[in-house]
Symmetry: C2
Subunit: 296 residues, 2 copies
C-alpha cells in the first residue's frame, strides 16, 4: 500500500512515496519560486506527483498534503497562506482530486507533523500528545484520545500565541507577550546578533553554546525558560502523556531540552509532572511528507 505525502512550504515543496512502514522513496524537493502565482504552484505540485507515480511504477492510493496556513480540513479548503501570496479560500483538495484522479486530503503543516510523530515518531503509543514546532513561527498540534484535535473552528493548537506575561511586546497576531514573540527564530537571532554581531546564525549560536560560551548558553537557557512557562501551563491544563518538540530551533537539542525538562519536572503540578515525558521529534526532515501521507 503506497500513498504520496506532499509537504508544501513557503521555501520548499517536498514530496515522496510512502509505504505502510513510513519509508519514503522517490523523494522530490523543489524550491518554491518566490512570488509564484497560485496556478503555477498548483502545476508544479501536479506535475511532480504525476512524475513520481510514473517513475516508481507503484500503485498509489491517494495523496495527502500539508500546507503552511489555516485550512478547513473537512471541506479541503485553504483559507490563506501567511507567507505565500494570492491564496484565499482555495478548494485545493478538489482541484488536485480532479487533476490527478486520486483521493486527496489536506491539513495544515503542524497537524500533519503531529500526526507523523504520533503514528511513527516520538509520540507513538501516546493517547494524549502535544507537539510543538519551533521555527519562524511556534506552532502546535494536539492529539486527544488518540485523535488529532482540531477545535471548534479548526484552528486549535496555536501554542505559540499563548501569552507568557501580563505585559510585553505586541505580536503580529495582535496578542501581547505571545511565546512566539520571544522565541520565534528571528527573535532568538536578534538577540544573538546583539551579542555576537551580524554574522551570527542559530547554528553558530548552538555550536558556541556546546563549546562552553557562557553568553550563548545564557541565550538558550532563556529560550528554554520562556518555553517552560507555556509548557508548564499546557501540562497542568491538558495532562498530556508526552510533549514532542520539533522544528528547526529544536536542532539546538539538549541545549533546550535539558533545562526545559528540569523546569517542567520541578514546577508543573506533581501528578502532571510525574506523568509527562518531554522529548525531541524523531522524523526530522521527512516529518511533513510522512505525516501528510497519513491523511489518506
Amino acid at each position: 500500500m503506497y500513498t504520496i505525502g506532499v509537504d508544501l512550504g513557503a521555501t520548499f515543496v517536498k514530496m515522496g512515496i510512502v509505504d505502510s512502514k513510513a519509508r519514503v522513496s522517490y523523494r522530490r524537493k523543489i524550491q518554491t519560486p518566490s512570488g509564484v502565482k497560485k496556478s503555477h504552484l498548483i502545476d508544479i505540485i501536479v506535475c511532480n506527483i504525476r512524475d513520481i507515480i510514473k517513475e516508481s511504477g507503484k500503485k498509489v492510493s491517494g495523496v495527502g498534503i500539508g500546507v503552511p496556513g489555516p485550512v478547513d480540513s473537512e471541506k479541503g479548503i485553504v483559507h490563506y497562506f501567511p507567507n505565500i501570496k494570492g491564496w484565499k479560500e482555495v478548494p485545493l483538495e478538489s482541484i488536485l482530486k480532479k487533476r490527478l484522479g486520486l483521493r486527496v486530503k489536506l491539513d495544515n503543516d503542524v497537524n500533519v507533523t503531529t500526526l507523523g510523530e504520533f503514528v511513527f515518531g516520538s509520540g507513538k503509543g501516546c493517547e494524549n500528545l502535544v507537539c510543538i514546532t519551533l521555527g519562524t513561527g511556534v506552532g502546535g498540534g494536539i492529539i486527544i484520545n488518540g485523535k488529532l484535535y482540531r477545535g471548534g473552528s479548526m484552528v486549535a493548537g496555536e501554542i505559540g500565541h499563548m501569552p507568557i506575561n501580563e505585559t510585553g511586546p505586541e505580536c503580529n497576531c495582535r496578542g501581547i507577550a505571545c511565546l512566539e514573540r520571544y522565541i520565534g527564530n528571528r527573535y532568538i537571532l536578534e538577540r544573538a546578533r546583539k551579542v555576537f554581531g551580524n554574522s551570527a546564525t542559530l547554528e553558530k549560536l548552538s555550536a558556541l553554546a556546546r563549546s562552553g560560551n557562557k553568553k550563548a548558553i545564557a541565550i538558550w537557557l532563556d529560550v528554554a525558560k520562556k518555553l517552560s512557562v507555556t509548557l508548564i501551563g499546557v501540562v497542568n491544563l491538558l495532562n498530556p502523556d508526552k510533549i514532542v518538540i520539533g522544528g528547526g530551533v529544536s536542532k539546538a537539542g539538549p541545549l533546550i531540552l535539558v533545562p526545559l525538562s528540569k523546569e517542567i519536572k520541578s514546577r508543573a503540578m506533581k501528578d502532571q509532572a510525574r506523568h509527562v515525558k518531554i522529548c525531541l521529534a524523531k522524523l526530522g526532515a521527512d516529518a511533513g511528507i510522512i505525516g501528510a501521507s497519513l491523511l489518506v
Copy 2:
C-alpha cells in the same frame, strides 16, 4: 427516571433527587463537621441518601458523587482531599455501592460542575467547552468532542495553575506566578482589605464597584485582566466553542465578564476570538448536585 446527585464539599454536603430534566427535589444541605473522621463522613452520606430515597418514595437508579479533590474516576478511588483530613486512596465508589446496593459513580467537583453546565447549563449544545470555577481555588473542566476530557493520568483541567508571568509569587502547587496565586478569592480579599480595611468582603467589593467606587472597580478590572491572560492562551490553544465561568467569585458577574470578554475578543487570535462565546455558569448552587447526578 431518577438519580441522586451528591456534592461533597469541605464546607457542606449537598444532595438531592434529580429527574431527567435536571429538576432537583428532596434537597439536603448538611454542614460538613470540621475535623470529621472519614468513617463518620461516609455514614452521614449513606444515611442521608437512604433517608431521601425513603422520603421521596421514588425509584432511584443510581448515585453520582462529586468530591473536592483528585480521584481516579475509572476505579472510583479518592486520591486525597486537600481540605478534609484522613482521606488517602479511599475506594469510595465501592464502599457506597456495597452499603447502598445502588450503582455509584465518582468524579471531582470541577468535572462534575462542567458536566452539569455542558448538559443542562450554559454549555448546552457545545462540542468543545472549557469551564472555569473561580473560588478559593481556580479550577477547570474541559469538554472535548462532546465528552469530559480527563487527561493522561486523570488530572487535566488545572487552569488555575497555568502561569501568567515568567516571574512572580510562588504558588502552593510549587509553580511560579500561577493564575490562582493572583485571583484565588483569598488574594482578591487581601487586596480589598489593603484598600478598604479588614471588614471588606468580596460581596462588599462587588457592591462598591457597582455603585461606582473607582478603587473597587480597579480591583475587579485587574482580576479580569489577569484571567484574560490565561483565557487568551486557552482560546488560542484549544479553540473552544464556549468558555463558561462559574464559582463564587463569578458572582461579581458583569464586573468581570464585560472587561474579560472585551480583552479576549480583541487580543485572542481572530478566528478563535470570533468563534468563542464567553458566558457565566447557569446552574448556580445546584450545579454540583445536577452534575453529579449525570455521572450515573
